[in-house]
Subunit: 196 residues, 2 copies
């Protein structure tokens, strides 16, 4: 990899700032001014770096979030479905712990607030499908039938997204712990069923 040029570096910093700000304050709640001020980028550089404006910034935020998530999973290299589950939970836990349960998923914030054409929704949906499919593939490799494996992948992704919202409201990580415990139980039971 070549290191980013100064020009790119400023753009990359703006994307990182927007990711953080969307996570904490939402998409509509984050203005270009906030991104400029958080990233230390020069005023006026937003439309230079993101000619299509906030939609383009949001696309890059979703891309960055996916890349970060993939790096998180590749770092943990889970080799069975239960390990995949805990790697997914760990991602959510870090988002909450880093913010004292005051920030969550930047992509969910975009989905709840954006009305900027279908691309953002398609990108968000593709990311969540890939997460669900990754777990489903591991479950199928452990013998779980296709429809259940797919359903459990979706249940896991949905319940982790929801846990982020419930934990933020409660200012407490407890609901994520409960979700992790029940998903662990449910996935193990599905694998045991498949073996018996």
């Amino acid at each position: 990899m070549t290191p980013p040029t100064g020009e790119n570096d400023s753009r990359e910093r703006m994307i990182g700032s927007a990711l953080e700000l969307f996570s904490a304050h939402g998409y509509s709640g984050t203005g270009f001014r906030d991104v400029i001020s958080h990233s230390g980028a020069p005023r006026g550089s937003i439309y230079h770096h993101f000619p299509r404006g906030k939609t383009e910034l949001a696309e890059e935020v979703i891309r960055r979030n996916s890349a970060n998530f993939v790096a998180h999973i590749e770092n943990l290299r889970p080799t069975d479905p239960i390990a995949v589950l805990h790697a997914y939970v760990e991602w959510s836990r870090r988002l909450l712990e880093a913010s004292g349960c005051r920030a969550g998923c930047a992509v969910a914030a975009v989905v709840l607030e954006a009305h900027d054409g279908p691309e953002l929704f398609e990108m968000a949906s593709a990311g969540w499908s890939a997460m669900a499919d990754g777990l489903a593939a591991m479950l199928r490799a452990s013998g779980v039938p296709r429809q259940r494996a797919s359903g459990l992948g979706t249940l896991t992704v949905a319940s982790l997204q929801g846990a982020l919202v419930v934990c933020r409201a409660a200012r407490d990580i407890g609901p994520l712990d409960a979700v992790e415990r029940e998903l662990d139980h449910t996935l193990r039971a599905a694998i045991d069923d498949a073996r018996s």
Copy 2:
């Protein structure tokens, strides 16, 4: 019940409009102007009816949402935990179907975007805890041990919240169907375990 006076009627309409607009466009994404225009209330009446401004409006939206949810459940009168689950799913399904998967939970929108002091978060959290506790009480009455009943209540509430976000991104009700199927399976298995 006495019918609302004209004065109250205008306030009630504004709350209903805000509930609908928050569900579709988020909390930051909904301005007072939108609420006035959607409800047909006279300009300038917002601060008359909501002297504490948007925070007070959001409090009333959360209250109205809880009241609507309680009315929905009382109407269905579920008498066992599986029926409670499907009543909860039906609430989410109606939100999605009414909007072509373009709107979700107004309370989640407030939680993801508000920074207006702890009251809104406490109200949101109390509502979700009541939902989780209602299902947990039914599961305990069916013999499911306390910790699992509580965990399954939390899993159900979190996964339905998350399904709303995932379905909106996908513009498709499929993820909610999958979550319903897997929760049904998981709750029945917990009840069977308790009986055996």
